[in-house]
């Protein structure tokens, strides 16, 4: 018996020891210390999630990392203006054809030459339905890409499309090397990408980090930052701690509660990008009683004190707006006069609509937006003051993402939308206002016609006018409670000079050493 017990302990120890022998490889990345930053600036950027692959044509997340390895034909400068990238110029040669003149003498980091064939190849593989590219919808207006000569391509669209240059600024239109991509295949390419961009791929330790180093032959000149590590730190407060501890130099998605911590730090600062986030609103199912009556919808707008929500609940992490379109987006026409906070008027309108004693409804919320549950509670309280009883229903986020496109959400629901990195009104509003679109619960024939026209005329003045008319009509018709547009925050170490961008990209080549 004595012996057996000893044996038992020994066995358990052996089991533990076996596990211990798998001790991980350590210290892949280097600490971001200040030494020698003049010669060789090395930085670490922490994001909330790991990449899921590094092929720009088949991403399901944004292209923050990948955009440093690859180039697009068109780029955006610091003011978000479209400027030449791998294309030196572009023009519309007829209603449905855009011609791009390509930069000569550019090579991929494996030596392969960049030319018109590479552009055609990069687009064709995304457009091929057999490949199931997740973001194919971003380029689905394109009929075909034709090689004119070695440095000229024509992009032919199915219908006139004013957004062609914008589309060639954004994933999935990054240019990949055809020979290499064919040779290694799609799966391998996503593990070891090769592009023409300012950085080249070094390593990807899954779940931990992606390391890139400067491309010494970059056509745009060698960047200040010689090596960049993108780490994934999912927990927001850990991200902030890592910045304050000097482990990382730049963090994305700072939560508004953590602003103070960074602002009061002596080693890092907060970079605020006003209105870079979603425009958040309460949508109505406008074909369901009582929300089919514009008077009811207007009444609910009068009943909400948006300013106090922004100031008190969100602590200024958003900007109140009645505009459908963000200020950096094409189509923005200033801040329209909206509904003031006027509960009396709300009651009066409800009475006129036949609901003098109010009604009951359910409001769906989701954790995607800043303090959304709190905001929904305040909205419910303010609506109660005009006789409308709201039950707030919190929905789990991945469930919400399948619920809303299927139209299975409640009659009132919180949703936020933005133009993401297209910076155009079309992306900001089409999907949520055009009848029949997955995320739209609104049907207005006039608005539909104007939305369709605005995405198919290339005359900028005409487009602007159409968006202005849509804005006016929607504001009056009130298919939503107009709320606010969220800000976005980054934390930046004092040793770097960089500010967050409205398009959400992090072009590492624009980061420089900054000892101000």
């Amino acid at each position: 018996m004595k012996k057996s017990k000893f044996l038992l302990i020994l066995t358990l120890l052996a089991v533990f020891a076996a596990g211990c022998s798998t001790t991980s490889k350590s210290g892949a990345g280097e600490e971001a210390t200040g030494e020698g930053q003049d010669q060789k600036l090395e930085i670490t950027i922490a994001r909330a999630f790991d990449v899921n692959g590094l092929d720009p044509g088949f991403l399901t997340e944004n292209a923050q990392v990948v955009d440093n390895i690859f180039d697009t034909l068109v780029k955006r400068d610091a003011e978000e203006k479209l400027v030449p990238g791998l294309a030196t110029s572009w023009s519309q040669i007829d209603d449905t054809t855009w011609q791009f003149k390509l930069r000569e003498g550019v090579t991929f980091t494996n030596g392969e030459a960049f030319n018109a064939d590479a552009v055609k190849y990069s687009l064709d593989r995304v457009l091929d339905p057999a490949n199931n590219a997740p973001t194919a919808s971003y380029v689905s207006t394109i009929q075909e890409v034709n090689v004119v000569d070695e440095y000229t391509v024509n992009v032919v669209t199915k219908k006139p499309d004013p957004l062609v240059p914008t589309r060639f600024n954004r994933y999935p239109t990054e240019i990949v090397p055809p020979k290499y991509a064919e040779e290694v295949g799609q799966e391998q390419f996503a593990q070891k990408p090769i592009g023409t961009g300012p950085y080249q791929f070094v390593s990807w330790d899954k779940g931990s980090n992606v390391v890139l180093e400067a491309n010494p032959n970059y056509w745009g000149g060698e960047p200040d930052v010689k090596k960049v590590t993108f780490r994934s730190i999912p927990e927001a407060s850990t991200r902030v701690s890592a910045l304050l501890n000097g482990e990382v130099d730049l963090i994305t998605a700072v939560s508004p509660e953590d602003r103070e911590k960074i602002e009061s730090s002596s080693t890092a600062r907060l970079s605020t990008v006003e209105r870079a986030g979603n425009t958040v609103y309460v949508g109505f199912k406008t074909d369901v009683k009582p929300f089919d009556d514009p008077k009811v919808r207007q009444a609910l707008n009068y009943a909400i004190d948006v300013k106090s929500i922004v100031d008190k609940v969100l602590q200024g992490a958003a900007v109140q707006t009645n505009s459908l379109i963000g200020p950096k987006d094409f189509g923005y026409a200033g801040e329209p006069e909206g509904y003031s906070y006027d509960p009396e008027k709300a009651k009066q309108l409800l009475a006129e609509a036949g609901y003098p004693n109010g009604f009951s409804a359910t409001l769906d919320t989701v954790s995607w937006y800043i303090k959304n549950t709190d905001v929904a509670q305040v909205i419910a309280e303010q609506l109660k003051a005009v006789g409308v009883n709201i039950k707030v229903n919190n929905v789990e986020s991945s469930v919400y993402r399948t619920l809303v496109p299927a139209g299975k959400q409640s009659d009132m629901y919180v949703l936020g939308w933005s133009s993401t990195n297209t910076l155009d009104a079309d992306a900001a509003i089409y999907a949520i206002l055009r009848s029949g679109e997955s995320y739209s619960t609104y049907a207005n024939k006039d608005v539909d016609a104007k939305l369709d026209e605005a995405r198919s005329v290339t005359d900028e003045a005409k487009r602007k006018q159409l968006y202005q008319e849509i804005q006016d009509e929607v504001l009056k018709d009130a298919p939503r409670i107009f709320l606010y547009q969220e800000n976005q925050y980054y934390g930046v170490s004092d040793r770097l000079k960089w500010d967050g961008r409205v398009d959400g990209s992090i072009p590492v080549s624009t980061i420089s050493a900054g000892n101000e």
């Binding site: 358990l12 533990f16 692959g53 088949f58 779940g207 780490r231 730190i233 890592a242 986020s397």
Partner: protein
């Protein structure tokens, strides 16, 4: 003995199969990966096309049969998010999780046993109350909170340790402490109870009559006999840690299976979640099985229930 081993093995296989079935259905109850894989702007046709190409438009029972068939050939499918073999991804991440659980269990066992022995030895003294109160506290604090407080103290304020990531020995300390906080309590409590029980046994009283001092009685006779139930608790807690590292790994961005599961669930990455749960169940069930078998060898009175 042989009969017992066979019976327990059979039960284990059934348990693994049960876990595999449960995870298959539960993850399918809540959401649609096709929708989540595409950007919000994607059209309904695009979603339908993707759903078809992934085979998610087939009736659930057909999907289940395919899943079982593949399971027996060792094919757990490709992760929808990473587009790589799900099993490979899980096995790549497993060492990091095992390292973490290993460190944590060593901490938990050391602290738990000490606390248990001390409080049994000084039963109902103020030390006993302090130790118990402290154990009660660590067990009721959320893991999440403990992790963040540890980061604030040791990384941000004292700069002794890194906040997160996996860069060798120093970065494992905080997540291991966090993960260890919970199992200390059951280990200490079992140790205390078992030791107190043993101390009332006849042979302990005999040894007292033989003139042994109290400490030497406890060390020489008591511990050896009180240890058996504690071992069960430790091995179970180790299994729980491997499965329970989810929160800790997320706080400390520890690149183990826990983080992979969180990511898999929020993307509705069916194959990845299935593979993770399957591997974890197998480890957990294997640990239980080994413990049971050793136990049975030591004490043949233990029967299959």
């Amino acid at each position: 003995m042989k009969h017992y081993v066979l019976k327990r093995l059979g039960q284990s296989v059934l348990a693994v199969l049960g876990a595999a079935t449960l995870v298959f259905f539960i993850i399918r109850l809540s959401g649609d990966p096709a929708r989540l894989m595409l950007p919000p702007e994607a059209s309904e046709e695009q979603v339908t096309a993707l759903r078809e190409s992934l085979g998610f438009n087939q009736p659930l029972w057909m999907q289940y049969i395919d899943y079982l068939k593949n399971l027996f050939t060792g094919d757990l499918g490709n992760s929808l998010y990473y587009k790589e073999s799900a099993l490979k991804l899980v096995l790549e991440r497993m060492p990091a999780t095992i390292d973490l659980a290993m460190f944590a269990i060593i901490i938990a066992v050391t602290v738990g046993l000490l606390a248990g022995i001390v409080s049994a030895y000084k039963k109902n003294s103020w030390i006993d109350y302090v130790v118990n109160g402290w154990i009660f506290l660590t067990q009721s604090l959320p893991v999440f909170w403990i992790g963040i407080v540890l980061i604030m103290i040791f990384a941000v304020n004292l700069h002794w340790l890194p906040t997160s990531g996996n860069r060798g020995l120093e970065s494992i300390i905080l997540p291991a402490l966090t993960l260890a906080a919970y199992p200390i309590a059951p280990i200490a409590r079992t140790m205390r109870a078992s030791l107190i029980e043993v101390m009332d046994k006849g042979y302990m009283i005999t040894s007292q009559a033989q003139g042994f001092s109290k400490p030497s009685r406890i060390l020489k006779r008591g511990l050896k006999n009180a240890f058996l139930p504690v071992i069960t608790v430790i091995s179970l807690e180790f299994g729980v840690m491997i499965a329970g590292a989810v929160v800790t790994e997320t706080i400390f961005s520890w690149p183990g299976v826990g983080q992979l599961i969180i990511q898999g669930v929020s993307n509705r990455d069916f194959p990845l979640v299935q593979a993770s749960i399957l591997v974890i169940s197998i480890i957990y069930i294997a640990i239980t099985l080994v413990t049971d078998l050793i136990y049975h060898r030591l004490d043949p009175r233990i029967k299959v229930h």
